[in-house]
Assembly symmetry: D2
Homo-oligomer: 420 residues x 4
Amino acid sequence: MDFAPSARAAAVADETRRFLDEEVLPAEPVLAEQLAATPDEWGFRPVVDDLRRAARERGLWNLFLPGTRDDGSAGLSNLDYAPVAELSGRSPKLAPVAMNCAAPDTGNMELLNDFGTASQRDEWLAPLLDARIRSAFCMTEPEVASSDATNIATRIRRDGDEFVISGRKWWSTGAMNPDATLFIVMGKTDPDAPRHRQQSMVLVPRDAPGVEVVRPLTVFGYDDRDHGGHAEVAFHDVRVPVSNLLGGEGEGFAMAQARLGPGRIHHCMRLIGMGERAIELMRERAGSRVAFGRPLAEQGVVREWIARSRVELEAMRLLVLKTAWLMDTVGNRQAMTEIQSIKIAVPGTVQGILDRAMQLHGGGGVSSDHPLAEMYAAARTLRLADGPDEVHLNSLGRAQLRDPAWPFPGTSTTTKGTLT
Amino acid sequence: MDFAPSARAAAVADETRRFLDEEVLPAEPVLAEQLAATPDEWGFRPVVDDLRRAARERGLWNLFLPGTRDDGSAGLSNLDYAPVAELSGRSPKLAPVAMNCAAPDTGNMELLNDFGTASQRDEWLAPLLDARIRSAFCMTEPEVASSDATNIATRIRRDGDEFVISGRKWWSTGAMNPDATLFIVMGKTDPDAPRHRQQSMVLVPRDAPGVEVVRPLTVFGYDDRDHGGHAEVAFHDVRVPVSNLLGGEGEGFAMAQARLGPGRIHHCMRLIGMGERAIELMRERAGSRVAFGRPLAEQGVVREWIARSRVELEAMRLLVLKTAWLMDTVGNRQAMTEIQSIKIAVPGTVQGILDRAMQLHGGGGVSSDHPLAEMYAAARTLRLADGPDEVHLNSLGRAQLRDPAWPFPGTSTTTKGTLT
Amino acid sequence: MDFAPSARAAAVADETRRFLDEEVLPAEPVLAEQLAATPDEWGFRPVVDDLRRAARERGLWNLFLPGTRDDGSAGLSNLDYAPVAELSGRSPKLAPVAMNCAAPDTGNMELLNDFGTASQRDEWLAPLLDARIRSAFCMTEPEVASSDATNIATRIRRDGDEFVISGRKWWSTGAMNPDATLFIVMGKTDPDAPRHRQQSMVLVPRDAPGVEVVRPLTVFGYDDRDHGGHAEVAFHDVRVPVSNLLGGEGEGFAMAQARLGPGRIHHCMRLIGMGERAIELMRERAGSRVAFGRPLAEQGVVREWIARSRVELEAMRLLVLKTAWLMDTVGNRQAMTEIQSIKIAVPGTVQGILDRAMQLHGGGGVSSDHPLAEMYAAARTLRLADGPDEVHLNSLGRAQLRDPAWPFPGTSTTTKGTLT
Amino acid sequence: MDFAPSARAAAVADETRRFLDEEVLPAEPVLAEQLAATPDEWGFRPVVDDLRRAARERGLWNLFLPGTRDDGSAGLSNLDYAPVAELSGRSPKLAPVAMNCAAPDTGNMELLNDFGTASQRDEWLAPLLDARIRSAFCMTEPEVASSDATNIATRIRRDGDEFVISGRKWWSTGAMNPDATLFIVMGKTDPDAPRHRQQSMVLVPRDAPGVEVVRPLTVFGYDDRDHGGHAEVAFHDVRVPVSNLLGGEGEGFAMAQARLGPGRIHHCMRLIGMGERAIELMRERAGSRVAFGRPLAEQGVVREWIARSRVELEAMRLLVLKTAWLMDTVGNRQAMTEIQSIKIAVPGTVQGILDRAMQLHGGGGVSSDHPLAEMYAAARTLRLADGPDEVHLNSLGRAQLRDPAWPFPGTSTTTKGTLT
């Protein structure tokens, strides 16, 4: 169980840290200004283009994509990518998009990379890797408990050489952005097949007749306008050619699961970075603010907050690193227990750290003068996005009751024999 | 220690409940529509006028104002007002304003009622009681820890027959609303006086030269646009006649303290109502939603959430009622320990209940499709507004260490002899 | 909803407080000495007899027993009894037994009082009221989940004029004490009857052939030797005359439920007193101990602990008082929701307060030099005794889902119409 | 940051697991019987001798002692020792003593090994390593806040060729055992020296005139009689030759600090093992117990408990492993932040896991029928032993405020440059 990054990864992480300190953090107020100046737009603001240029120049581009470097991917393992993603979490509205490592495009690119035909990759993956377009992933539905993906009700009927899609999705992140020209839609192609073989995914161009972007949703008052927001989208008998099927028919559920593992750990890595940012801000505030005659830094309660935050965050980081290492060494499927573990533990822990940081900042903490409240909303939401905590707790608990095996370092009695 | 309301109070509470069920709750989607149609305004929407008419007809107007009925006030004690305010908390964006019982106007009206001259009352209190204008309370400052009001830095210099005000305030709730024509401003008239005698309050018309409403602040992502938002306000050598002094010179600190007690308990009463609304929504959701083959209502974890919420909320209600009863029987000053207690305990407890309710609603819970996320933001903010929890905990702890006395029902050994 | 005690109750509570301060608290070290001198005994030590004499002289005897004073009972309502029981909780090993108000005798006396025949009352109730004997309640069984009393497996077969009892019980509190000459045993008389009509209770003399007191159990290392401990008891075909049936055949379940309500609230009242003792001890310690150059009383974290403890404890007290008042006004059955509420909330809250107090006392806090660790063990155990929290949470949650009614002060819409 | 154990360490851990499963766990009831048969003794029972023989044969002896194997120590790094100590924590009353790896002897042997003269090592270390004698560490004092070791009041005066020791200690673990023939006593040799140079340690034979073992202390209700308990010890002008000085004069504080690091991590390693035992017991209970018609294993709340316990425990294990790895690679002093972190986080987390396990076991959970309550008492006590959490939180918080550096894997910007 070796968490040390490769030499290349260490260099990339160093560069990422410099990028953050030198360019991204200073760009945060610029974004705020540009947002204030264009209150009605749903796409990226000019500052993002500047940062993207800088990121490309620094070699910080598409680093999320695992694989060998020969195939154009970054060649970083999950473990290598961890500090990069964590650092990007310090400025979650800017750094991930600047580095073309932002959800949902990352997951969509992975899907296209792993399951797309050559033609699909040419048409959609290439411009996504180049950040010329964006994409949305249309899975969650308002009417059913979508944490169980077999509940998905959207229908994808075959009609000759076409699929006809009808249904209603929401929380389609990024879909308000007119540049999001690709919607990957999950639906049922065969309701009579076995439970996990009923679903398929199809590629739907935004401008296909019958696609209706109904409305934006908000997250604690935030519309995430600069990222394309979160949309409710209706599909009214939308027709696409059968060649728009992504992967095989009936493989939608498996592909969705495959997409979720990396997605979840990326969220957790960035959350660690948000926690670090919160500690940075607490330190600054505690060092500079005086209340009741003493600097906050000298007050016992404040010290406890910072100490607890540090300890909790490091425990979460180690759990994430172990998960990444497992994904690299035994594969995503074998790392399922650990992926569930971080999904359960990290968002709530970081939410707690952000809560302390907000409290330390008083009124400013809940306002947009600091990034804390928006990060807090993100962390809170991740306790229910991609399946609420309770679903994962129940599943993990059941698995533990069936099989006590847990990778235990230092003994050969684990069922995951390669762990040491 | 008798928490039973008077017959009149019970009738008023009944009427309030009917008003909520019959008119206010159904008006919530109407407000949402009107807000969507006028995204740039900062004042009340037409639906509020309709509700105000209805509230007046039902006799549900200005009920917050204690006093005898002869003087035009509602004649409700704090204990009597508790269920009314609680019920209004079920729809916190609409019910309090509909009943002219919304902060910050209530506190401002109390100040004018208690400390205003006849002329000040004519000019400002009358239209406020009649909801023809609104008002803001400008106390908190960005540069100093305002939980200790003696830190206030805004200067109010006397210059002949005028006061000259210079300083910067923020979190001036309601001040974005152009109808808020009165700003009550706290500042230092005599920095050389004893610590708690340096401050005074002056009445500043919104249109006085030098008043600059700088920008709106957001709470999480909410701008509370329909209520006049929360403003940063700069006072650039603003001049008002000396007759605009509210109360006496040097009495600003004491008046602010007097204003805070009722303000805090009103917040807590409404928070109880928010908690009740959260339980209502949990019940509906649990009864109607199916996940993993079983209604949520049959899942043990969900039942625990609802049970815990019920128990916690009732404990908080009783603490609020006791505080109200003490304010009625021994006075606000004597009830300080209890006011601090509810200030510490209620917002966090209700935040926890709202958290469960959001989680039960999945993605919808953090969106504007339900009132939960906005209530959550309000509850979270009340953990730091009017002094962060930690200030009150420290003060209460110190007081307990000095003097163990706590009203102990059933014995005569309490220092608050009238309690039984 | 009036929590004020009657004049008589206030006088009794005052006398109880004096009794505690003047006699019981000073007797605690005496008990410790007497225990150390007689390590092998299971009954009361001489100091208890002294205190009992004193309690009788002060009129503090059998106060737990509700009823009119004509019938020999104390004539205190549940609300009246609350401060008395609370005060006795400040010294839980001595005060309740001194006042003949200790479990399990209180519940057993209530059973005999409510359901016993004249002859049973003469034989068993009279000496219990006079503290000449003690008693045990044999209900919980090691082999079944006894929180659901219908699971009870002990058999009570009729054989002519006798009942034959066979089964195994544990957590029979007090049964190690040889003076506990009466065992009230719950078992199944008719396994074919409807679920809640299968059980009956019989009075079993300790010396009946076939009664085997198997072994003492410990609670966190404590054997509660001075109170008769907690025994495992086997009944090997024990025969008693049919006249030893308590109440009617098939009424055992209902009688057990009737016994539990008062038992639970008495535990909660005493827990409030333990919480008060913990705060007293924290205050003393914080005022006298210096660490890192400053008295503990000046350290922010310590102040927070004391403040939080005060607020939490008062909320719990009010919940208990409301429950008592409901039991008095609408009856124990109607107060079931509230009894469950305090059963859920009070032990855990007081455990938390005791935890802080232990921490403040360092090593001494977990030792027998202070009463904190033993109180902590008691509070922790009450989270699972008489049904674990989870059973009550599930039941309360289900009830809330069925019927939202909760006594709501100030409105007539509650289903419990008499509450205001 | 590589947590993989060496091949030898993996083999030792495997052997330890077999030892536990085959011999130690089955010996637990034997110990219980032997304890019941000899209620007045304070030393090890015969079963311990049997296990010790077995442990020696398996090569599981003195594994705690770091160093090269040439010098007789086990040759295990801290990281290597982690799984061994963890496994021993599954049976904390038997396994550590069986393997001669139990506190306080381990720390005392380390002191003698690191600071003892050849003669001191011959006289005391050899028999300790051979388990022929036991020892106590007399540091904590009842009268002063001993978490700040500079407060120690015991005096060690030089008088010719002798030291004269006078003072009072408590929580001298193991000192009730008559086989504990060595007391290592910390006291002040020079109260006028700089704060951290006033203290020294001397070796005091148990039978030196003036040594008074005053009384045993209990931890909750446990007297830990089988381990020699925890004693209050008075030193009445006890005289030892100056050659009994351990290390140099004035080095007592530094030596105590040196002793604490390994002691704290060993405690934490064993706590992880206690947590694993708790999960094992929860799994057994949940799989076998039926309540309200369904096995506990099918109840959502139970699954959540097991899942949360698993996730929390693994996070704690990783934090402990990282700390061990740091101690191995950069030294104990450089690992101070991490040692504080685990001291803060592990006991409380494991206490919470044990709490769930107890609750799942009902009455049996708090009794001696399962090891849970005794483990719980141990975990709770470790929140205040060796310095209460609050002292470490304050110190860690202050350090974080001064210097944000935290080993950040994957970047070279950390101040602990060798970490990757």
